[in-house]
Subunit: 265 residues, 2 copies
């Protein structure tokens, strides 16, 4: 498994996907800077309309980069890639319960599977840094802190759930810049959904995120909340489709497309 | 039918819809300035996934404002409205052929009908005028000129077709402003898809539009082309679903929402 040890910050997207296909496992954060990474949700065709409608009705947490035709395992976002094998880690769900994590989802992928590629906040973190806004979770070497909120999604057929947000502490004089910079990349979740008091989102304690690691606020920092790509995983838990496949948190699909690209481009 | 004669430029969206429900027929252009108008496409549930995916893959000509659950005839964009009756004129399609135009679509609306509300260029015409860009078709009192192009959509399942564009002549020094102003309203089709030579889009003669009326270019005007909401009607013709309902061209659904609103707002 030579490919696994060769991954560096200079590896190409093709090399990274080949390593994952060969069995290498690591979070994808930091790999192939400047290339879009994507959340993955795979559902049977029978549920795909509800999922597509859920995303259409809630585009901020679920900005759709691409949706495959049933049974198709490729995407224009990464020519040559196989969606069943080229992510570092997958989660397998049955009736809304997480039952397994695997490196290769081929055995779980049915002929009528529809795959959804959903934008990810890694792209706007790079844009924030480029604009001089510190990204504390990156500076602290931690996964971003994510929280369940009490804000219901607009439901779609059998799919429903509540919004999940990520939180980044921002110095007060940079909140406006963080907002405008992220608003410019709607397919990486876009502008914040909330700035300030976490209790207004139903979040009891910032030090205890529901996913990821807690981020330390520095003096004066304002907590800024963005819609999060974990939202569809929470919706799967609540909506209980017969089966689903997702990426494992932090283990995204690395595409060939530059950050900031939208499906229209 | 008193409602029909009472429509003025000051009528509210509710009054306009009530008049249409009562049987009044007229193009909706100019009614209720500042409120979003929408294209309508209605399909059986069996085809709704393909249509939703077509719009997701081609958001510029088909920016989705709302999609109903099967059988639902209401929308948050116009509380109290009934989508089956509140447009001034509908088209009924069978196997991709236009078979009838009706004022009341109730008799054609099945229990599994899914309605798509699609953004319309009326909103950005108002924004252009507000920004000092003349809109020649409005100044000339004509329907906008629309053309079939040779640019294929990205297909989705059984749904496919080619892009339809609208053309507005713009003075050369205002092309940039027209671009930035329209780009700011992506749910009214957003930025131009093409500026200049119509032949590059496969358009043989600007004086002979495929839909609407020809617009006279003034000296120096550059033809500027925007994605057009007639695109899905062309796709229906080519894709031949068993039945479909659409608005009749120019006879849009008048919503309560301010121009520029997106589904996210």
């Amino acid at each position: 498994m030579d490919a696994t040890t060769q991954l560096t910050d200079r590896s190409t997207a093709t090399q990274v996907r080949a390593a994952f296909r060969a069995g290498h496992v690591r979070p994808s954060s930091g790999l192939v800077p400047g290339r879009t990474q994507a959340n993955l949700v795979v559902l049977p065709k029978d549920w795909a309309f509800d999922m597509l409608l859920l995303a259409q009705r809630n585009p901020a947490p679920m900005p759709l980069l691409d949706v495959t035709d049933p049974g198709v395992v490729t995407t224009e976002w990464a020519p040559g890639a196989d969606l069943r094998t080229d992510l570092p880690m997958y989660r397998i769900w049955r009736e809304g319960r997480l039952v397994e994590e695997v490196c290769d989802a081929s055995g779980h992928w049915s002929d009528d599977a529809v795959a959804f590629l959903i934008g990810c906040s890694f792209g706007f973190e790079a844009a924030l840094q480029a604009a001089g806004v510190p990204v504390r979770n990156l500076d602290q070497g931690r996964n971003v802190a994510m929280y369940r909120t009490d804000r219901p999604l607009r439901a779609a057929g059998r799919m429903h759930g509540d919004l999940v947000v990520s939180m980044r502490p921002v110095p007060p004089e940079l909140v406006a810049r963080a907002t405008t910079v992220s608003a410019a990349v709607p397919f990486a979740h876009g502008a914040p959904v909330h700035v300030g008091d976490p209790a207004r989102l139903g979040i009891a304690d910032l030090a205890r995120p529901d996913y990821g690691d807690p981020t330390v606020l520095e003096d004066g920092d304002v907590p800024v909340f963005w819609p999060c790509g974990v939202t569809p995983q929470r919706a799967l838990e609540e909506s209980r489709p017969p089966w689903a496949i997702t990426h494992a948190p932090g283990h995204m699909f690395v595409t060939d497309m530059p950050d900031g690209r939208s499906p229209q481009d």
